[in-house]
Amino acid sequence: MKIRRRTLLSAAPGLALGGALAGISPALAAPAALTGDTVLKPRSGRAPRIVICGGGWGGLTAARYLKAELPDAEVILLERNPFFWSAPFSNKWLIDVVDTGFLVHDMQRPANRYGYTLVQCEVTGIERDRKIVRTSKGNVDYDFLILSGGIRDAWDVWFGDDQAAIDHTRTHYASAYIPQGQMLGLKDRIRSFQGGTIVMTLPPPPHRCPPSPYERACLMAWHFKTNNIPARIVILDPKPQAAPIGEGYRTAFRELYPDIITHVPNARVKEVDPFNKRIMTEAGDFDFDDAIFMPPHQAAEMVFHADLIGTDAEGRPTGWADMHPRLYHANSDDSVYIVGDSMGAISPHFGHYPKSAHVANYIAKIVAKNIGERVRGQEVVARLPDNLCYMLVNGDPREAISVEFTYELGPDDLVHQTQIDIDVRTPDLMEEDFGWINGMFDDFVRV
């Protein structure tokens, strides 16, 4: 404080003297145009450089814990959005359980606090042979790269190259499962809905935050019920029944929203006509007044840019990262780690880890430790995450259900999953949910 005041005092008279301006004169030069060779961050010294693409739950956590693990490392976090918007609790935000300020956080202050570099830019390409990430602000080279980009909406699976249909659906019926701006539009759509049928599709598994579409249906239904809006919500679910916490949800649908929510199982999407508001599924065809469309989810574009998408037994792309299931780096490139929802299959016993914020946060910490071990030349220790989700099903009283997953390594050297559904909806689970998210925000973004 004292130093700053002194600087101001001494600088102020200096303004009158031309010579004092010399120190800041580069700011007066025209910004250089971006070329393919523009370097975003030149290297300074010999510290290892770890570049993280994506500043969500996984990326922000990885950045903090890498600096803790390797204080001398240069940690650069690349994020396209100007601020952090939490997808967890955004369903609750739709009915004002929390306000916008609860979900939205500045990212610069955690960067300053924990000592990593935050750059707002778009990742436009990844050249693994040169160990370079191309961005909208220039190229940045890395020793280790962490891809934590979340998911992409694979509209092309529904519409092929019909860009008009993709654009119309994306701009009118977005699910906001990739948050930020879409969430505001979704809330406006729900708040202004006057009645009629809303259809909601669930993607085929695996997809982001598996239990949350049902939570959203419940909270929308609660809004319509309490405001006497004659709305009907049709959940088109490709699975044979709602899951996880299926019993808790079935009970909520039946007891709390019997006239509003219809859950249609085995409703795999065959065709969508967004212009005539009609969707064709294997469980029948449905007309709608409004819709929340979730196309299949896939790994974020950056995983495709990096050419790290896996293939199945028939040689078709899986849409998810091809990665080591217990060390979390790409199978073909151990300098690239994949954290969070983009991660590929983990075990033949259960497939993917739940694509949840909790898992992204957990894996990010494990990857930070593993990179630390490698840089220090220590033995790399494989670690497994756990998972925890609370889902609000009633607006008044605020009653939640929950699911926990624990993981163990089996005698077959494969990861085994234990799932614990807490079906009984109670207010104390909602209180615990607040405890969980406040702990999480304090862990990686709220300073």
Binding site: P411, I420, I422, D423, V424, R425, T426, D428, G435
Partner: protein, 108 residues
Amino acid sequence: MARPPRIWISNETPAPGEVVRVRAQVVHVMESGFRVDAEGQPIPEDLLTGFTAMLDDALLMEWLPETAISQNPYIEFTFAARHSGRLRMVWSDGSGVADEAEREIRVG
């Protein structure tokens, strides 16, 4: 994290004779006794073996779980609310009382 029993009651202020539905779930390992650890040693059985629900001094329901009951046992039951009282639920296992919970039922 503390994991108290999760209790849901359809109506804590029921009309006389109204059938009240209770759902309760506790966290318990329900070790089956069939499993062996990494060294091949059997893991001892550790099961929830009893649950009772009383309304004051009247026994409403007794449940005797065996190995087939899931981890973190869930029990749902109903009773006719003939008088007000304290609904007391007790879970027990081989080591004694594993969990307990109480709720006031006011018949009006």
